[in-house]
Symmetry: D2
């Protein structure tokens, strides 16, 4: 990266996006864990963007980071996925109760340019924590552990087997006892390293114990539980970015490859009244989801700024607002990524074009948790003022 301003950062991200676009179809097909891609992100100087400058990082805002990352999502949503999850996992350690430990981890993260993954799928059994010296040994298995396979550090939580207390922890991704199963061969988000990871008595020293998890459950507090909401927020950005990527790719194809339909009465496909209409409808729907996503992003940043003063009501209303973005962006991306084929036509169904990856990515990522339950939460707030019960998904 040349320079330290936001333009330099955006420029660096854009270059990565261009490189990723060049072979996205081939890499998607190959389905290899994204070690090379993560190296490229590291080399581009993107990894420490959110680490405070006082701790050696770039000290950027979530808005700036998400704005810079958007072209990467458009070009390769899998890598957009691991990268935004890296930001989430490295950042959310901050929403815990041990500032000294957190600062040291952030400092080390910047210094070593660590890449972060997570192992927190709530639908799996909790990880076990057995006290061991100044820390713990962690054991268990988590599926959908996005980024863990290619991560230096893994953000997780576990339950103390002696006290039942739930602790937020950080695990060394290369430590002894960590097994990455390389078992992610899914429809979409294929390069997101979202397979399963096992921990067999892996050492977690005190310097990696973040304190009681306040994200959800008995020890719930509004501020730590922002991590849940930021995952939902990032999903909305991923949805919109995928829709934008599909539209850009399909538009380029229409411009350069599509012949006008015989009875269209026009010389160029770009003049076909129906291709114009369909494109305009899909672009407008995507723009609306995008505008809403950015609006709630700013609200989310406001909530972070409140810190430990954040109230349950404030947190609850933010949850509802983010849910509206989740709903709108889910509808948009599934519609757009399927309907773009009506722009490109039959010849574009050859696998060489790889156009289906947008729909495959959309269809996979939008199933993170059922969107209809997000609609339900928005409806409950509207009809009776109720905010969602804090949980691992809301």
């Amino acid at each position: 990266m040349t320079g330290s301003g936001v333009e330099a950062f955006q420029g660096a991200a854009r270059k990565v996006a261009e490189a990723l676009a060049a072979d996205a179809v081939v890499r998607d097909e190959a389905n290899r864990a994204p070690f090379a891609e993560v190296s490229a992100l590291r080399d581009a100087g993107l990894l420490d963007a959110l680490v405070p400058s006082g701790l050696g990082g770039q000290g950027r805002s979530w808005s700036d980071v998400l704005s810079a990352v958007r072209p990467i999502i458009r070009a390769d949503a899998s890598i957009g996925h691991v990268l935004t999850y890296h930001y989430l996992n490295s950042w959310r350690i901050r929403l815990n109760s041990r500032p000294g430990v957190i600062d040291e981890l952030e400092r080390a993260s910047a210094a070593n340019r660590w890449f972060w993954g997570g192992a927190g799928n709530p639908r799996d059994a909790a990880l076990d924590l057995v006290p061991d010296g100044d820390g713990f040994r962690v054991t268990g298995r988590k599926f959908f552990a996005t980024g863990a396979q290619v991560a230096d550090r893994i953000t997780a939580s576990g339950t103390r087997v002696d006290t039942g207390e739930k602790l937020a922890i950080v695990i060394d991704g290369r430590a002894e006892g960590v097994t990455h199963h390389d078992d992610w061969d899914n429809l979409g988000q294929r390069l997101s390293a979202s397979g399963s990871v096992s921990f067999d008595a892996v050492r977690v020293p005190d310097a990696q114990v973040l304190g009681t998890s306040g994200q959800a459950g008995a020890a719930f507090q509004p501020y730590p539980s922002l991590s849940i909401l930021f995952f939902q927020l990032v999903l909305a950005h991923l949805h919109v970015g995928i829709a934008e990527g599909a539209l850009a790719t399909a538009s380029e194809y229409v411009r350069t490859k599509v012949r006008p339909w015989a009875t269209s009465g026009v010389e160029l496909a770009t003049e076909d009244p129906y291709l114009l209409e369909i494109t305009g409808e899909l672009v407008s729907q995507t723009a609306a989801a995008d505008a809403l996503t950015w609006r709630v992003t700013r609200q989310a940043e406001g909530a972070v700024a409140r810190g430990w003063d954040l109230t349950e009501a404030e947190r609850g209303e933010l949850a509802v607002d983010i849910a509206t973005a989740k709903v709108a962006s889910t509808r948009a991306v599934n519609e757009v990524t399927s309907k773009v084929f009506e722009l490109t036509g039959a010849r574009a169904t050859t696998r060489a074009t790889g156009f289906d990856r947008f729909w495959r990515n959309a269809r996979t990522i939008t199933l993170h948790d059922p969107v209809v339950y997000k609609a339900r939460e928005v409806g409950a707030y509207t009809l009776s003022g109720a905010t969602p019960t804090p949980s691992n998904y809301s």
Copy 2:
């Protein structure tokens, strides 16, 4: 209005909104031209909001004005319609070439608390302008002349019968020769005074001649033609406000009147899984259209700030962005205002509830110009970078 800050202004508008809400259904049914409502707007001190403070007005921004007006749109979209059109018609005289004339008109508008209407439907024949002394005599008829019937001043344009030049003019709404036909009995926007107006050799002195119209056609210039785009922008605000009004009204009804369906298994209608879902979907779709509408509003304000330096390309891109808001808000408001009946149920179809006014307003206002041609413009820009040919609708 107590005080001069934006809160005072918003408070004044909110009070008007509350009063309008109280008898909106009855007034809608009665279908009388909104003389009383315009008086209330005047008495509330809302009319000179956009007039520069140097000319005796409040000097507010479009954003502040549109934000304050939103509750009025929700409560009574007809009055929201005439009020926003008042702002448009009083403001757009500024986008002309005779600053002295314009300043005097703005000063008089503030001093006299004039209400403004328009008579510009492009699908009717142009008004004729016959030179007469220092000014003209104007003759002709215009349909869809929103607000003209209740206006002190009417913004219009006419064609000089001697030279063919198209001039922007202002007409005294009470002048001799002006006939308001009181012929607006339409499905929706019933109190928007959108009937026809005739001019029979009505005197237009030089002090009401704004100069060559640069809005569209041969003398087109980007800055004056912003008026066209602001009409489109205001339509998007009207769409979103109507959707919000329908949702608020239906939600209140569900909360207070609806019994849960027999097989729903819940005690309260507000707990019915499907009512929650439908509400959440509609609220999310509306929120997305709203966020996009506000985003383009800020862009539009930026374009105004460019003044006569505004380029064709800048104006063209703004047109496309506003078109996305038009498309998204049109889809949202038509969907929302019809579907809310699935929240309120069969008993709510009694005419006493007046719930259908939201759909009637939506269905009427969204036909201002065909939304599919807006989608087409967005598509053209996306597929080939073309901006819309400036016209009376784009």
Copy 3:
């Protein structure tokens, strides 16, 4: 009616439809109970179509009757509503256990050309039946009593105050103690006489007692409960007919009144690519709902033919099939009747056209019972083979 074949019957119905179409808008506005219209139906010889020829009627099939009635639904869905409900209410007495009583009532119905209504809204309290001589006295009030106000005979049920037994009964619509409240002033289906009716110790002689009601509840039997399913089936026909009426009316308007949009590049509105597309989409959606409605109509006729041998499983599967038609036709009619305005344009929103009556009728009739619970029943059968619990709505 000239002749007795199905063509004669269809011809007679078509003539009524044409007469109704001529002043449908005016009558809808006037909102008077349809006494004159019912007379016209009687004079046209339509009322005894379903009565067996052996009992003095025309002995027609449901298919022939519903096919003949369709043009009436298209022209005036309110009258289509009371007429199809007349057929339902006069026919469903047959699904009871006292053949002698039933035959006599059918014979009298044909001889006197009775018009039938119903008073069975299940969401109101049950009617009380007090034993009185050879019969009962009936007391209570029912809302949504479609057709009752203009009926000679009203099909109903009541609960014996002494034994709690639920009996199917017939009430003389003009008997002493019957009060028609003339309180139906709703959004749509305005001429369907769907207001409330009160019974104050109205005499129900033994000759009007049909026996224990087997329609739902404890004494449920598959055959009598077909009446519930036929109401649902008839609703599907009403939905499709309203959509067809809207399309026919809008198409005629496009053909004769609509000017092409300025930038459409075509000479006639009927050549506008978007009007062609929208029309084609709406017609196709309507045709699909129509084809499904007719398919389930044939299935329903098959179930009737099984008589008291009809099994619970057969009845349950028919309920599910009819539910698919309810869902598809509800979606179609609400979409079509709102979207047709995009064909006709802004000028067509003048109330003189009355185009909104199609949407108002659709929006009202489709709320008979919540369509989402029908979708749920279809889903339950698909996912687990469960048929709906027999009730007053399924």
Copy 4:
């Protein structure tokens, strides 16, 4: 096949469907030309179903054949595609002017259990026919030649280089000069053998010349051009069958694999209110498209029965009716095959399930020709009574 009745035929087809279902995912992935599958169809006795019994075939109706084939489409839409196209290509030779030649070909087809493909993509250049002895030599290349690669006989047409006359012909799929490029590696319908085929001076003896092609163009006649309409009709059956297959597969998965969502409040996924609703909506939409498809199938059979007496108007109205089925089924299958993932949830995105094949098949087959132009044709007929200009797509 045991027995000759329709049940035996349907039973034989159902057995093939079951066998195809067992390894459909694996075969789809492997993307091999379906030689083995075609052998299975032949061995099951399915190939001569439409050949008149007087010529050695089974003499079945289109309805019986399409009904029997439906389970095959559900199980493996690629094979459903080649099989229905086999029927189309072997049957449409009958719509030509040389009865003697046709009879002999049909007789040979039944006797040798020939499988038929086509090479008629109208968007490619026409094949050249050079007179040679009693017949011709054919040269050229066709893309999207569904089934040709695995066919004994290929139905095609070519243009005489000497006279410009367009002739319908039959080509031996194994003849010298025929090259199958095995270049079909597309998103969906992967086993439909829809790659390209080249002909290099391939011999077409007089016994394979069907006469002047009356399908479209200058020599158009209504009866021969039914072949075009039957392709469209078969596409509608393929669409509906794919939707049905997706729903059956997803339902089975919900029943057996899906855990209820944490906040659903139910014990089984099959009781989740939203899964029930979504399933019911999709099933209803599919049922409507199916009912319409069968209705137009019966109309199409009626048109065939008219033979050479078929008028242009009759043919035109059938074209419009089939277009409604195309539109409705296209909307249904694209919606259903994408949305079923909301039933099955995130875990079902693993590629092992192969659930995406339904969407991939739908997305590919529905692009055969642009559905919006079909909507346009329906709209044109509705708005102005115009039937489509006969062409290779309508």
